[in-house]
Amino acid sequence: MDTIAAIATGMTDSGVGIVRISGSGAVEVGDGIVRSPSGRRILKKAESHRLYYGFVVDPEDGAEIDEVLAVVMRGPRSFTGEDTVEVQCHGGVLVMRRILECALRCGARLAEPGEFTKRAFLNGRMDLSRAEAVMDVIGAQNDRALGYSLGQLKGRLSGKVGELRGRILYETAFIESALDDPEHFDLDGYGEGLSGKLDGMIEELRRLIGTADNGRLIKEGIRTVILGKPNVGKSSLLNCLLGEERAIVTDVAGTTRDVLEESLRLGDICLNIVDTAGIRDTEDAVERIGVERALRYAREADFIVYVTDASMELDENDREIVSVIGDKRTIVLLNKSDLEAVVTEEEIRALFAENEAYPSGEERLAILHTSAKEGAGIEELEQAVKEMFFHGEIGSSNEIVITSMRHKEALEEACGALMLVKGSIEDGMPEDFYSIDLMNAYKALGRIIGEEVDDDLVDEIFSKFCMGK
């Protein structure tokens, strides 16, 4: 492969900086720019993995640019698996840039983001799951997401998944031993015991899967839809949140006839907000379209902000909205708390209780009193969102958070398979049936950490790395 070069450390002034050159011509390029204190070229004959003291000189006029330590790492014993030269220089941005320019003039090409990693992967220096994490690191939208990807790269997820796999394997091994040596391995009452262990594993998997939503929400933002009857103050609320007049606000019901999308940052959380037309049974054709659109957005949302006018009695339209909400996490804003309230929290909860789809007992519903007009309750809203999605705080980057759809799917598959084992136990199936689904769970988890080789992933990584033909 051709030779690439880049500044390997950050593009900020710091004590030490590294310029990395990798590829079949790396030693040639390095040799072109590094001189010993006595002015001789030194890298071509340099011993691998040994630091050499010297200077970087401009290949055209021989001017000294910086005092450096240079190291040659011959492939495959390098990060990329190729011949690599690293020049450790002073960490000023200007100095690093000038050294890089020299390398480029000696025949290297500027590396694309992530290209060193790509080469490491293609040369087999990195397993699939790490390569995948590196792709996430490169593509991370913000610091938090980056933290999670780095966590994966360091193997935190691998550790957890490996541990779960170990537990599953123990159970299969026990069943198999009992099938082959019934004299020495007894399966009496084994099913009940296993069932309890499965509950534990299923719970852990669900928790991990749960973080996948958080992972996506952190990466991409929370899809939020504001619902409510016309003229309950939805648009005022949005304006209040965004701090400017975005939606048309009038006292005439049905002014917002389309949907509005805005992105709102609440501390670490990003809400992608869709304001919708008020939902009511209407004859107006244009308004009808808006209402239908609102319903459609609501179905795809992560989060519903249901605004209702606390000063007006609940009616059929509210019932309709609650049924549209289905099982989504919802914050009900009893708006216009500046006026005299006629709707109570109990009435709202009763309304949700009528909705069969709404899961009871979970913290998916919060009710707040606000006055969008006066800005009251906005901070509470922020807090409530955090409670609802991240249990009060956005977890530190140290916790395992699933940020890859592929991982989430594999976890779900594993979880589903363990549920099937539980089903088999409940149906009184013989123990030998358990192993089919136990093995499926084991393999699904193995795909996350590259212990089960998945050729689809190879294809995917190739396509993401945009490999040639």
């Binding site: 492939g75 495959p76 698996g81 992967f121 293609l122 040369n123 087999g124 220096r125 397993d127 699939l128 198999e176 031993s177 099938l179 082959d180 040596d181 004299e183 020495h184 099937l420 149906d427 009184g428 199936m429 013989p430 123990e431 030998d432 049936f433 089919i436 689904d437 093995m439 499926n440 393999k443 193995g446 590259g450 212990e451 089960e452 080789v453 050729d455 190879v458 294809d459 190739f462 490999m467 040639g468 033909k469």
Partner: protein, 658 residues
């Protein structure tokens, strides 16, 4: 001994030589002869054809599967045990259908005699009592032996890199047999020695002559040999055993035959009993006190013994906290008073054996007819073979059975058939018979032998088969008969019978899925009577059959118009419907497996050119030369990370090709 010059001229030309007439040799020779090839089977003693030197039974957990698969392919073992069994039992019937397994007690002498009769009646087959002491071979240019594209042996299209070609065998008395293929089935006879405590004899099993010379010839050819050991318990005089202190183990009321060609009605007969008793603390104490006199623990035996068929010494050491171990007393035949003491094989000295056996209830006054002993023998690492059981480096040389590092009559017989058929196919220039892990236990057996570094005799076990819900003993014919037919070992008539069975199964499954019953009073009453919950809406008969409490037979009450179908058909129908979800999931696993099997690796793959393969993986890949990524992933010492390196390399390689 000097050979006269006339004898050196004595040559005969045949197609195939089979060395050894145990369970592997018999199947190999029969397969070749039945495919029309002139075949000679060599044995050191004609009286020992199909000898059962260890346990007096055929089948058992997972081994029963092997016998049925062998039968589906056209082997003889199933038919022969159907002729000669004296007790039969379907094991594990309380478990799922995947682990049901048939086991029959054989009349050993009858089994051997009946098999000999089959060999003697087989056209194109000659039995020869002689010790083969040398293989004849010639060097070939590495690539000049065409594999023949039709064979499919090398799906990547590259030629197999044989370096040698086998041309015949020489017997100890000097006779030369020229042939196109040799199948080695030497069992435990090569360089054998038997150990009973401190006393050692240089014989094969049962005091038979060992084969002392062939090993050297194999070494000269560059074949790597290793040493394994196995053992057998004592045989006792039935008259000295007190059966009143034991639990009687009787056979099944309705006997299931092994062979798909045997009419079940024709084999219902009086059966003999086996007996169950247990060891106790006293037994274990004697063993522990004398472990230093056991050749294994004293370090005299170098061979590695089977972990899964352990001696009583091993069991006492391994399961130190177990207060007792099972002991099965099994008759060796109808015309002998010898009884086999299952579960207590041992290589302890005679005096210790006697003391130990006499602690077991019912054996207090036992008299030993034959002592327990351990046997050590030369065998190969089967990694030198490919899936057809041919040596990768020697064209025309095949091997099967204990010589390949397996253990057990059934494992041997199955390899015998595969090696025999493929020896024949290589001469006939036809595609080989291969079975993969998703097609049969035989596939698992052979794949494990040729890809894994087995350090002890390999015994088949249920747990070794990943896809066992599909690989049931009841459907072995549906899985493999077609292969047997294509190989030429299954008759047109037998094949047509299979097709008819398949048709009946499909039709009945369709009918049950398509016939719905309403939630009417009759149905609800029926369900209530069977402890099943009432229907809310109409349901198909298949849906009802899925309920654990309802059987096909029970459903007859509400399914009056049904046609009478053979029991073997109904068994398939019931399993297919009852376990549909599980079967479906297992089939998906098989699809995943096949995907990797289809990712082929060129046979001339330069593993040194793949960067970042770990050294160990590189060595093993070069040694085993797997044909696919799937096979590579099962080789000992190759990690998933190595596999992903290979996948990425092959992907790149594929993409960078013009």
């Amino acid at each position: 001994m000097g050979l006269s010059k006339y004898m050196t001229e004595f040559r005969e030309k045949v197609d195939v030589c089979v060395v050894g007439a145990g369970h592997a040799g018999c199947e190999a020779a029969l397969a070749c002869a039945r495919l029309g090839l002139e075949t000679v089977i060599f044995t050191v003693a004609v009286d020992s054809i199909a000898l059962m030197p260890c346990n007096p039974n055929i089948g058992g957990s997972s081994k029963g599967h092997l016998v049925r698969e062998l039968d589906a392919l056209g082997g003889e073992m199933g038919k022969n045990i159907d002729r000669t069994f004296i007790q039969s039992k379907m094991l594990n019937v309380s478990k799922g259908p995947a682990v049901h397994s048939l086991r029959a007690q054989a009349d050993k002498a009858e089994y051997s005699r009946a098999m000999r009769k089959v060999l003697e009646g087989q056209e194109h087959l000659t039995i020869k009592q002689a010790e083969v002491c040398e293989l004849l071979w010639e060097e070939t240019q590495a690539r000049d032996v065409l594999d023949g594209d039709a064979s499919g042996r090398n799906p990547s299209g590259s030629k197999k890199g044989y370096g040698k070609r086998v041309t015949g065998v020489r017997t100890f008395t000097g006779m030369v047999y020229e042939c196109g293929a040799v199948v080695l089935c030497t069992g435990t006879y090569l360089g054998a020695r038997c150990l009973c405590g401190e006393s050692i004899t240089y014989t094969g099993p049962n005091g038979l002559q060992a084969a002392a010379h062939l090993t050297d010839s194999l070494r000269e050819m560059g074949i790597e040999l290793r040493r394994f050991k196995t053992g057998t318990p004592a045989r006792m005089d039935r008259r000295s055993i007190d059966f009143t202190k034991m639990e009687e183990q009787v056979g099944d009321e309705r006997i299931t035959p092994f062979s798909f060609s045997t009419d079940p009605d024709s084999i219902q007969k009086e059966q003999v009993s086996c007996w169950l008793t247990y060891t106790n603390e006293k037994t274990h104490e004697i063993i522990r006190d004398n472990l230093d006199r056991s050749p294994i623990y004293a370090g005299i035996i170098q061979g590695t013994g089977p972990r899964y068929c352990p001696s009583i010494e091993d069991k006492v050491v391994k399961f130190a906290d177990k207060e007792r171990h099972q002991v099965f007393i099994e008759p060796e035949g109808l015309h002998t008073s010898e009884m086999y003491v299952g579960g207590m094989s041992s290589s302890l000295p005679e005096d210790v054996q006697l003391a130990m056996y006499r602690t077991v209830p019912g054996l207090e006054r036992c008299r030993i007819v034959r002592n327990a002993y351990a046997i050590e023998y030369d065998c190969i690492h089967a990694g030198q073979l490919d899936a057809t059981l041919e040596f990768r480096n020697v064209k025309g040389l095949f091997s099967a059975g204990q010589f390949n590092g397996s253990s057990g009559y059934e494992e041997a017989a199955c390899q015998g058939l595969v090696a025999g058929v493929n020896a024949a196919m290589s001469i006939l220039g036809k595609p080989p018979l291969t079975i993969d892990r998703s097609e049969g236990y035989i596939g698992v057996l052979i794949d494990d032998l040729v890809t894994k570094d087995n350090r002890e005799p390999y015994r088949m076990m249920t747990s070794r088969a990943e896809y066992r819900l599909l690989l049931r003993q009841d459907n072995a014919d549906l899985r493999l008969r077609k292969k047997g037919y294509e190989a030429g070992l299954i008759s047109e008539e037998e094949y047509q019978a299979l097709l008819e069975k398949e048709r009946l199964i499909d039709r009945e499954v369709e009918r049950l899925k398509g016939t719905s019953v309403g939630a009417n009073r009759e149905i609800q009453n029926f369900l209530e009577a069977h402890g099943s919950s009432p229907l809310k809406t109409a349901a198909s008969l298949a849906e009802l059959l899925c309920r654990p409490e309802l059987s096909y037979e029970a459903l007859g009450e509400i399914d009056r118009g049904r046609e009478a179908l053979p029991a073997a058909v109904l068994e398939q129908v019931e399993i297919e419907i009852k376990y549909e979800g599980y079967i479906l999931r297992q089939k998906r696993q098989v699809e995943q497996f096949r995907k990797m099997e289809k990712k082929l690796i060129p046979q001339d793959m330069d593993y040194d050119g793949v960067p970042s393969l770990r050294l160990e993986a590189r060595q093993h890949l070069k040694q085993f030369r797997p044909s696919s990524i799937g096979q590579a992933s099962r080789i000992s010492g190759v990690s998933p990370a190595d596999i992903s390196v290979l996948l990425v390399y092959l992907e790149r390689y594929g993409r960078e090709l013009p």
